[in-house]
């Protein structure tokens, strides 16, 4: 359906181009412009204000010498992989369950989705309580007689990032589920009928027919989850403040702290430029494969 093959393409394309002006402006002015601005200032010693002397790569040297930054990256990696897998799996399974023409679908959907409506500040606070060994889940299980039960992820530097994961998944899977549900609802009824007539078991239909058809939806979900991961900040602040110690620091928090607590904009910009660089390295080749070539669907 590529318009370029059509005879009256110039005129048609003009409408599409005009319609895409907001996107073109946003991409070029805000994202390219803003990013370039950020990258330039990452080579300065800007403090509280974006001005200052050029200092070359000094901010980057310091960034990579910082223990806090290294821990942040490690945490992001663990948190990222787990969140990605868990959100996609749980989100899809929930959507598939809800898609069984069940009763109370609306109720269940709202239950799974409501955490998404709550601010991170409070999500963090509530989970901080639930995971608190003094009066949270550990306390309850122990008072039921299981004295040796230990569950204090937020207070153990080794596993604190998993404590944050629990809350992150709780908050985010609802949206993935909705997305998947929208995708499932877009699948033609006839495909199900055909699969049933052929006697293909339901799980096989999902795995080999439906999921491949939902590829675009999965990509959307993937990007939404991934952006959420890269930008994770509030949740950590609310749950642990980066602690115990610096065990649950994440890159976005490093950026924020450098910019607004240390009053070292240059360092914050350097850290965010590194983050962006990493994203570009991953996304651009993928985007090229995905969108750069000819149209791939159907």
């Amino acid at each position: 359906m590529s318009a370029s093959r059509r005879p009256n393409q110039l005129f048609r394309n003009l409408t599409a181009k005009i319609a895409a002006i907001p996107m073109i402006l946003t991409a070029s002015v805000v994202f390219v412009g803003g990013t370039a601005w950020t990258a330039i200032y990452s080579f300065t010693d800007s403090g509280l204000l974006p001005r200052g002397e050029f200092v070359g790569l000094k901010q980057y040297d310091r960034l990579w010498a910082s223990n806090k930054w290294l821990i942040s990256i490690e945490n992001l990696f663990i948190y990222g992989v787990c969140t990605l897998v868990l959100s996609l799996v749980i989100g899809f399974v929930l959507a598939a369950l809800l898609d069984q023409r069940i009763r109370f679908e609306n109720t269940f959907r709202t239950i799974f989705l409501y955490p998404f409506a709550l601010s991170f500040i409070v999500t963090g606070l509530v989970w901080q309580w639930l995971l608190n060994p003094q009066f949270g889940i550990q306390h309850v299980v122990r008072s039921m007689g299981w004295e040796s039960f230990t569950f204090d992820p937020l207070y153990n530097p080794e596993i604190v990032i998993y404590g944050i994961l629990i809350a992150g998944v709780w908050q985010g899977t609802g949206l993935v589920m909705c997305l998947m549900l929208a995708g499932l609802r877009g699948i033609d009824e006839d495909i199900w009928k055909a699969a049933r007539i052929d006697g293909i078991p339901m799980w096989k239909t999902y795995l080999f027919i439906v999921i491949p058809m939902m590829r675009p939806v999965f990509i959307t979900a993937l990007v939404i989850i991934a952006t959420g991961i890269v930008r994770v900040y509030d949740l950590v602040v609310a749950q642990t403040g980066g602690g115990p110690g610096i065990a649950s620091e994440v890159p976005a928090k490093y950026v924020y702290d450098a910019m607004f607590l240390s009053q070292n904009l240059g360092q914050g910009f350097a850290a965010s430029t590194m983050m962006l660089l990493a994203v570009i390295i991953v996304i651009v080749p993928w985007a090229y494969l995905e969108y750069g070539g000819k149209k791939r669907h159907v």
Binding site: Q134, G243, F260
Partner: protein, 410 residues
């Protein structure tokens, strides 16, 4: 009104200029809890009485939230008329960039130099001989709060200094108490560490290390003692698994924990719980070792706005904030100490009285904010936090890193 002992009858309001035009001034600050808001209301009331109007822009979250708002508003060409900010080194850059109003005229006219105590507060507002901010209160962090009940239960007398407290730790533990309550949030760890440093190494060493970046002193055995004490504190608080500072204070209130190192704001919690200073709890300023308090506090800055009416109103606001009446009213509500020595407070409790006495004796030190750039300070604080939470990090290793950071600090 009966709370005031003496109030200077000579009001410092700028009588003449007032009441001609009602100018609206937007004031940004991060005082949002009950007591804080009540305190701000005193400022607003006093300012509105001059015929102007205080437009409140309260945003919780401290400097971390205020900075982006401030910088954006200034860069965007629409600054607020006044804003709370950490004074000292943190605002230097804004002043140097010419973004903050010079208040020297008002300051000289009203003789701020003579009335503000300690003098270091005004010095922090001064750059190249010009005054750029108004200090409004004094908060102190150097307090050890002890639960009398916990020590009674453990069968040991209530300690009178840090060493006795540390020595009592085993007895407390035996009685099933947490010796030292401590919230997990990084700022609390930092606070405790700084307090230990000042109390155990003494104010001079502290000022030299933070103010003059004396790395040699930071490597000395004096400071080794501090890191060892921090090591002690680390094991004493190992079982304290709460996040918020007031949850930790609550452990002290209920007698589950022996003590807590926390600022003077902890008193509010004891008061809410109906506890009486001296009976139910004991406070040791400077950990009972070096009775000093840090003259941290809050200050207001006034961004440059190109409008003579606004400027006149800004001057008025600056003046109002320091007037004796407002100082008393504000600080009673805020739970902090006034910056003027010529007002007195009657309705203070035991612990506040101790603080005032220390202030009167001049046993004061500057806060790290005033001595060191925010950037260096954050790095040092990160170290403290890491040390406190990582039992594998030895006191020696921590001190070595500390020395390095001090060497490179600015």
């Amino acid at each position: 009104m009966k709370l005031f002992k003496t109030i200077l009858t000579a009001s410092t309001f700028l009588g003449a200029a007032a009441a001609v035009h009602a100018t609206e001034l937007e004031v940004t600050h991060w005082w949002t809890s009950g007591g804080e808001a009540a305190a701000v209301a005193e400022f607003a009331k006093a300012f509105d009485a001059t015929g102007n109007k205080w437009v409140d822009g309260a945003i919780a979250g401290g400097g971390g939230t205020a900075r982006p708002v401030m910088i954006s508003r200034i860069t965007g060409g629409d600054p607020m008329a006044a804003t709370q900010f950490n004074h000292g080194r943190q605002a230097e850059e804004l002043v140097e960039a010419g973004l903050m109003r010079d208040l020297t005229e008002v300051a000289e006219k009203e003789g701020w130099k003579d009335i503000i105590r300690p003098a270091s507060l005004l010095e922090s507002c001064t750059l190249d001989g010009k005054v750029y901010c108004v200090p409004v209160n004094i908060h102190s962090q150097q307090w050890l709060w002890l639960s009398n009940k916990a020590f009674e239960d453990a069968g040991v007398p209530v300690p009178t200094n840090w060493e006795e407290f540390a020595a009592a730790a085993p007895a407390l533990e035996e009685a099933g108490k947490i010796p030292l309550a401590m919230g997990q949030q990084p700022w609390q760890t930092t606070l405790a560490f700084q307090v230990l440093l000042v109390a155990l190494a003494g104010p001079d060493a502290y000022t030299k290390i933070f103010g003059e970046q004396d790395a040699e002193l930071a490597a000395s055995p004096e400071i080794t003692k501090v890191f060892e004490a921090a090591d002690q504190a680390r094991s004493m608080s190992a079982d304290s698994d709460v996040q918020d500072w007031n949850q930790a204070t609550n452990l002290v209130i209920t007698g589950e924990a022996g003590g807590q190192i926390m600022g003077d704001w902890a008193q509010g919690e004891f008061q809410v719980a109906g506890q009486v200073a001296g009976e139910d709890y004991t406070c040791l300023p400077g950990l009972g070792v070096n009775e000093v308090i840090m003259t941290g506090g809050d200050a207001f800055y006034f961004p440059v706005i190109d409008d003579p009416e606004v400027s006149a109103a800004q001057d008025q606001l600056a003046s109002v904030m320091l007037s004796p009446e407002t100082q008393v009213a504000f600080n009673l509500k805020k739970g902090s100490l006034p910056v003027r020595s010529d007002v007195d407070l009657e309705a203070v409790n035991d612990c506040m009285r101790k603080g005032l006495d220390i202030l009167d004796q001049g046993n004061i030190i500057q806060s790290p904010d005033q001595l060191m750039s925010a950037d260096s300070l954050v790095q040092i604080n990160d170290l403290f936090v890491q040390f406190f939470n990582d039992p594998n990090m030895s006191a020696e290793a921590a001190q070595n890193t500390f020395v390095q950071l001090i060497e490179n600090a600015d």
